[in-house]
Symmetry: D2
């Protein structure tokens, strides 16, 4: 237990949260609304709210600290987006950790340090 427990607080039990979210929806009879298509739209509306919080801030202001009035709202929007993303992955039986690791490997191959370094143009065109 010893050395392992040190790291436990940093680890997040994604599957456990997904189970709780599924129970939450089931108890309220909301599963009927939770098709991946609908959940993508719900995710989008939360992303819209995050955009609203940042739309008139310049880049420096966007680094708001936890004393900023908007901070707890930003925190809640990030949670909402995270929650819907976990719901979508659960519905599609996608293992998020697996997906993230796969994508990070792809990105590392796509943007080798020597070509990508400080290269905004390349970076900007990265999905083309």
């Amino acid at each position: 237990m010893g050395s392992q427990s040190r790291f436990l607080p940093f680890k997040m039990d994604i599957k456990e949260i997904q189970k709780k979210l599924a129970n939450f929806a089931n108890e309220r009879d909301w599963d009927q609304f939770h098709s991946p298509k609908n959940l993508v739209m719900a995710l989008t509306s939360e992303v819209g709210e995050l955009n609203e919080l940042y739309q008139w801030l310049n880049e420096e202001q966007s680094l708001l600290d936890n004393k900023n009035d908007d901070f707890s709202q930003v925190k809640h929007e990030i949670a909402d987006i995270f929650i819907y993303l976990l719901r979508i992955a659960d519905k599609l039986n996608i293992d998020i950790e697996d997906a993230v690791k796969e994508k990070m490997k792809i990105n590392a191959e796509k943007y080798p340090v020597d070509l990508a370094k400080g290269n905004a143009t390349k970076y900007n065109r990265r999905d083309e």
Copy 2:
């Protein structure tokens, strides 16, 4: 160790991934582009790609299984959204697990089972 290790594969080390993403950006000199404002836009563009994959599917079709041609693309978009969300949280020093738990508690208070059950109208108006 015994009983605990059974659950370890389900746990995701969010902070470890955030550290890797930060290193990835630093090595490429990309940190200069990663203001929260810019990252919110990058997140939004990935969410747009997820919408593109679902826009012409009906709800039933949207439950695509892993033999569907779009499946691996959906998986990658979900990973991209997750990655940018972790980056934003890291930049703002927001603990995602903490944020998610806080939001789930708020949702439970906001939508008690007896009032919310099967109530689509209520559900639809939940942020108003």
Copy 3:
């Protein structure tokens, strides 16, 4: 005047509306916030609100008529998106009518009737 006036109510003076929107912003000293980047985020947040209105509706329900409670809200969101789009175009000196005609021509070439007819797969892959 005669025959022409019949059609006038159908025509929209985009440039006149853009001038009014510019005046509205100038009078309030808001032009400082209206960089194209910020306006794109503001547009995105309105699109998020439109998504929220449709997220739990199925496709048939989404054809809401003007007696639906959400109808006037949908109308206002569409107006908001239109307004920000006109603002962005104005800031970039893009002639929207010209842009739309150019894009419609491109689409006609990209999707000839014989190849595109009823072809959902093709349609779905249209930007790839």
Copy 4:
């Protein structure tokens, strides 16, 4: 005819464009995909592409002129968003010009010059 014709080039026949877009969809048997819900997702995916073009630009850079490589792409994305917005309005029998005028009147009442002037905070909180 005289004085009026001077202004004609500035006017856009929204209904005429909507009719052409409806014909375009009908000829390709695409109307079956064009529920308002689906069109909102298609609009969202175009807005995502606009975000992608602006995500790493700072506000000053976002004022790109027509010599910029991205300019024609931005122009096409704006056209795409406009086209989907017109399609949605057409499907819902919403008169866009009417909607825009109604919303501009509401905004004028909501943000009187003396209260709103240069007031970013107020502006930022405008929908709350």
